[in-house]
Amino acid sequence: MLLIECPHCGPRDETEFHYGGQAGVAYPAGEVSDEEWAAYVFLRDNPKGWFRERWFHVHGCRTWFAVERHTVTHEIRTS
């Protein structure tokens, strides 16, 4: 059970959150090719190591935020 630091509510159990996947995937601006659009919709990084990801405090303050989590150790650092 991860303990996730919500920027508003402080540390809370993982069960209070929804996972939001990779952070920093920008909505493509302007005209984009099918490949670029498909990359935005379907492709995400899956690194072994530090990963910047989004969480949504659904059972708390309903804030979306990003943290860095180490996908091997689950260590979390706010970013």
């Binding site: 059970m1 991860l2 303990l3 508003h8 509510c9 809370r12 159990d13 069960t15 209070e16 929804h18 939001g20 909505y27 493509p28 984009v32 099918d34 659009w37 498909a38 935005y40 919709v41 379907f42 989004r54 949504f56 405090h57 659904v58 059972h59 708390g60 303050c61 309903r62 804030t63 979306w64 150790t73 689950h74 979390i76």
Partner: protein
């Protein structure tokens, strides 16, 4: 204390474990082994027991060494596998609990006790858990003196933390210092969820045996266990003993056994020097003999010779035979690294200790005492104290002073605490010995529980297996109920000998939770039966129940499926309900539809980006149907949205998707379009909604909401509804004249009863489905499955070609989405107008036999009341009206014809219904407000007492406020407040008085109730006074009004669930 074992009446003493009591009664054979059926006796004295597994009452398999005896206990022997007695009655109340601390100490032996004292003295919040009924760990089993007095005197004199959980076994160590522990209580186990800033593991060590021939006979026992039975329980486990002392603890056992009156015939020490005169040094046990029952009668001892690469001896011809009914084996010690390993810490093999010890920590944790190989009592106390001091410093954000935390070098610690003197002598290194090859043909067991022998391991090695993980799976060694606590090291030792590798190279198998077996009942706690998942109910629920409604689950909601009259079946009820809606007037409880209040100058722009069609141009007072897609272009949800004011909309969502849609709106607003001025408030529970449907709906509306009588199709008005401020929308999901009448939750029941009194026929979800399907209206989640675009549904008209962008727009131009030949929504008419095609049936072309391509599948299928025949909706590719298909489901095949998906009233001629006839009389019934938990009031009062009182604080006015700080209320999030009380609302505040109700817990035990279901830290030093969090399985706002009074703001639809949960918690206190 009386108890029975396999039906035999026996007597034990208070404080006995079942194992001790069995030994007290001379019971030597307690069961038979799982594979070979060999007689087995008690082998250990704790959770490591591999043999003495018993059924006790409703518990199918417990280790007799961990069961506390009680008067009337009934136990049965097992053959290695648990047996569930389905007739056993289990009246115990299982529960959960959530606790937080600075320092969690696992283990109440010398090291753990010292750690807890040290951390407490340093000012930390400390929790100490220990599996035994009383603290002391190995001190309970030994006769060691501390400062010249019995060691338990020292334990009793300690200044321990307030939260000490005895009879509590830490079974799992998860991410971020989350430790799960099981507390054994007479009234039922409690699963503790413990979150600690720092953890000190002081889990001790398990003694191990070694693999010699005949090492499984009843009478062969771990030396530490023999010592525990003799010292702690006063039960000498035999009359004449041989002690095999591969480690010096064997000598301690021999001394204590002698003191208990056991004749110690010999001490055998494989090492070259014995500790006491007469020791058979340099010798090993090479075999055993047994009587007819299989119980130990004697031991062969010989000089042996070294075999294999390391740690093996073979018996010789000159072995001597010693009569004995007890063989106490001190094979060496295994630090209990289970929790450490579960925490992802790395172990290493220590050559001096001949054991795996903690090496590199992965979490905020430190091992202390015997679980890291510090076996001496004094050494463990000093190590524990240092670990506790360091853990407290780190938890409290101080820099640990390593000089001060190394008390083993000084007579007293820097803060004046003194490590007691101890009469033990330092142990020597154990013998490097894992197996003995025997003179007899008796098997030598590596894993007693799984009946795995050295021969089995040799076979595994012979097949080429090198990894212990493979060997484990091939032989099943270590997979028993004891998870290899006594066998793990022996298997590694034997494998290292077989492979000619060092044990450290062979390595261990993975230690996985739970450390000891945990029952599903314990994991479930009180979340079982009616509380296994929240049941959401509407304001009208009790009336539906009273009317005999048949319910269906829609998400967590209970919705009436149909309302049978005089016990009629659904096949009769639904056509009757449909007829009422198509020819007269009918009503449905539509309260479960999601309702989201959107406010802000950019609300229209926001909706344009979320929906596929346009809302910014919607006139105030108008409603519009909308579809929203995911970024992949697939339909996500639909519903109508109404413009209440220039900067104010109300969105409705499907029942099942309400929460997901609100999350979706928040995601786009917060992460992509933070510049937009728009905020969202869920008002799903605030409003109770009744859909009044049918050509004669005006006859009802004229009475309940006359203001709305003139409402045009897809228009909205605020209206006086039976004297209550309400909202009426002219929206239809059936094609008939329909009004959705909304009143605050408290008046939902009154409105429903009035509408029915006025002649509306109540209908449920099944009729709603038939009515909408006859009109060809798709349902998200039924016609769609995440692979369906609006265009696939034949709804290209709702996808704006003019808007620059909306979520999913670009995906509609992707090659796969834009290609011709995708599955489209079609209608189907079965050849047999009475045949109901199964939903999910596959559609295949025409009359071809054999392997044929699948063209699609049936998504909805009903007997249409208005159509007078069955019909279906389907998704199918490459078909056109008039095509003949077959619908195949298993062996059932129906011929069907493809038709347009609108079956009824294609030109929408029915939507305006009949004009009002006459002037209906005003409603004469009572219009009474009812709070969500009103029906529970008497039970709340009955359950309340001096310890805790429970009541509903009903009808509290509440508003959610966004933007600027209102200077009052509870702050729920960034720019988000809940204001309550009798104050005048400001413009822009969203009335949510019906959205939640308040349940109040007061009294000294209020917090004891909350910790059974609230995962956050409620300690005054950590809890800010209020929080939005979880309680049981529902979201709440928890407000602590004073140290003993908590208010729980709960969604009205969850109020019944939470009420039942709280009543159950009070009952379980």
């Amino acid at each position: 204390m009386r108890f029975t074992f396999d039906g035999r009446e026996l007597r034990g003493e208070p404080g006995d474990t079942l194992a001790a009591a069995l030994l007290r009664n001379g019971v030597r054979v307690v069961g038979r082994s799982v594979e070979l059926g060999r007689p087995r006796g008690i082998f250990a004295a704790g959770a490591d027991e591999p043999n003495a597994l018993v059924r006790v009452g409703a518990d199918p398999m417990l280790a007799a060494t961990t069961v506390e005896l009680y008067d009337g206990l009934e136990a049965w022997s097992l053959r290695g596998k648990g047996r569930l007695d389905l007739d056993a009655v289990d009246e115990r109340r299982y529960d959960k609990g959530y606790l937080h601390c600075d320092v969690l100490v696992v283990g109440g032996g010398p090291a753990g006790l010292a750690a807890a004292v040290a951390a407490g003295r340093a000012g930390a919040r400390v929790i100490l858990v220990d599996e035994q009924p009383r603290l002391g760990g190995d001190l309970l089993n030994s006769r060691v003196l501390l400062d010249g007095a019995p060691a338990l005197d020292w334990v009793d004199g300690l200044d321990l933390p307030s939260r000490v959980l005895t009879r509590t076994t830490a079974v799992g160590y998860y991410d971020h210092n989350y430790v799960v522990a099981v507390e054994r209580r007479e009234r039922g186990e409690r699963l503790w969820h413990l979150r600690a800033r720092r953890v000190v593991l002081a889990t001790g060590a398990h003694e191990r045996s070694l693999a010699f021939p005949g090492n499984d006979r009843p009478g062969v026992m771990l030396a530490s266990a023999a010592r525990a039975y003799a010292n702690r329980y006063g039960v000498p486990p035999g009359r004449r003993a041989v002690v095999l002392a591969c480690a010096d603890s064997g000598y301690e056992a021999a001394r204590d056994l002698e003191a208990a009156g056991v004749d110690v015939a010999a001490i055998v020490d494989p090492r070259q020097e014995g500790l006491v005169p007469g020791t058979l040094a340099g010798q090993v046990v090479t075999g055993t003999t047994a009587d007819a029952e299989g119980v130990l009668t004697g031991v062969y001892v010989g000089g042996g010779h070294s075999v294999g690469h390391s740690g093996g001896y073979g018996g010789g011809r000159g072995d001597q035979y010693i009569e004995a009914d007890l063989l106490a084996v001190a094979g060496g010690w295994n630090p209990v690294v289970h929790l450490f390993s579960q925490s992802q810490g790395r172990v290493r093999f220590d050559d001096d200790l001949q054991a795996f010890v903690p090496d590199v920590s992965a979490q905020a944790e430190r091992s202390a005492g015997a679980c890291r190989g510090r076996y001496g009592t004094r050494e463990a106390i000093a190590d524990g104290y240092a670990a506790g001091t360091e853990a407290a410093a780190l938890a409290l954000g101080r820099t640990p002073d390593h000089e001060a935390t190394a008390p083993e070098t000084a007579p007293a610690t820097a803060d004046g605490w003194r490590v007691p003197e101890c009469d033990e002598r330092a142990p020597r290194a154990p013998a490097v010995l894992w197996q003995v090859e025997g003179r007899s043909g008796e098997p030598a067991f590596a894993d007693l529980h799984r009946d795995v022998t050295v021969e089995d391991l040799a076979r595994a090695a012979g097949t080429g297996m090198r990894s212990v993980e493979h060997v484990k799976r091939y032989t099943t060694a270590g997979t028993g109920a004891d998870q290899g606590k006594t066998s793990g090291a022996v298997v590694v030792g034997v494998m290292s000998a077989l492979l000619g590798a060092a044990p450290g190279q062979v390595g261990t198998t993975t230690f996985r939770p739970p450390y000891t077996p945990v029952s599903f009942a314990t994991l479930a706690g009180r979340d079982r039966g009616a509380l296994s998942d929240p049941v959401r109910t509407t304001a009208m629920h009790d009336v539906h129940v009273a009317r005999g409604a048949v319910f269906e689950n829609v998400g967590q909601w209970k919705r009436p499926r149909y309302f049978p009259v005089d016990g009629e079946p659904m096949e009769a009820a639904v056509p009757r309900e449909c007829r009422a809606a198509r020819t007269a007037v009918a009503a449905m409880d539509a309260s479960t539809l999601g309702k989201i209040d959107l406010r802000g100058a950019d609300a229209g722009e926001f909706l344009d980006r979320i929906y596929t069609n346009t809302f910014s141009t919607l006139a105030v007072g108008a409603c519009r149907y909308g579809v929203m897609c995911r970024a992949d272009g697939m339909v996500f949800d639909d519903g109508t949205t109404t413009r209440l004011a220039e900067d104010h909309f109300l969105m409705t969502t499907t029942t099942g998707n309400a929460a997901a849609v609100l999350d979706w709106l928040e995601e786009w607003r917060q992460t992509e379009w933070p510049e937009l001025d728009v905020s969202f408030t869920s008002v799903t529970d605030h409003w109770a909604t009744v859909a009044v449907v049918g050509p004669r709906a005006r006859q009802v509306i004229a009475v309940v909401a006359p203001d709305a009588l003139g409402l045009a199709f897809m228009r909205y008005t605020e209206a006086d509804v039976l004297g209550v401020p309400g909202r009426v929308f002219r929206i239809s999901f059936s094609g008939e004249l329909a009004y959705e009448v909304n009143v605050p939750w408290a008046y939902g029941r009154a409105l429903w009863e009035a509408v029915l009194d006025l002649g509306a026929v109540p209908y449920g979800t099944e009729t709603m489905h038939v009515l909408r399907a006859e009109k060809g209206f798709a349902i998200v989640g039924q016609e769609t499955d995440g692979t369906v675009t609006p265009q696939d549904l034949g709804m290209a008209w709702i996808v704006s070609p003019r808007k620059p962008d909306f979520v999913g727009k670009r995906s509609h131009a992707r090659p796969d989405t834009a290609r011709p030949g995708r599955k489209r929504l079609v209608g189907l008419l079965p050849d047999d107008p009475a045949a109901l095609v199964e939903e999910g049936a596959q559609l295949v072309a025409g009359l071809r036999e054999g392997v044929v391509p699948m063209l699609g599948h049936v998504t909805s299928s009903y007997a249409g009341a208005a159509l007078g025949r069955t019909f279906a909706l389907a998704l199918a590719k490459g078909v056109a009206p008039g095509d003949r298909l077959r619908a195949v489901s298993g062996a059932v095949v129906h011929g069907v014809t493809v038709v347009d998906p609108v079956f009824y009233d294609k030109d929408n001629a029915r939507r305006d219904g009949d004009p009002l006839e006459g002037s209906p009389a005003p409603y004469a019934g009572e219009v009474r407000a009812e709070s969500p938990a009103a029906a529970c009031a008497a039970r709340f009062a009955a359950a309340s007492g001096p310890a805790v009182r429970l009541r509903e604080v009903a009808f509290e006015p509440m508003w959610e406020v966004r933007g600027a700080d209102p200077g009052a209320g509870l702050r729920l999030g960034p720019s988000w407040w809940l204001v309550s009380g009798n104050i005048t609302p400001q413009p822009g505040w969203v009335d949510v008085s019906g959205q939640r109700t308040i349940l109040e817990l007061a009294g000294p035990a209020a917090e004891d109730v909350l910790i059974t279901g609230c995962p956050i830290d409620l300690h005054p030093s950590a809890f800010p006074g209020h929080a939005q969090t979880l309680l049981g399985k529902t979201s709440v706002i928890l407000e602590r009004r004073d140290p003993e009074t908590c208010r729980l703001y709960v969604r009205s639809s969850f109020a019944r669930y939470l009420a039942e949960w709280l009543l159950d918690a009070l009952d379980a206190l």
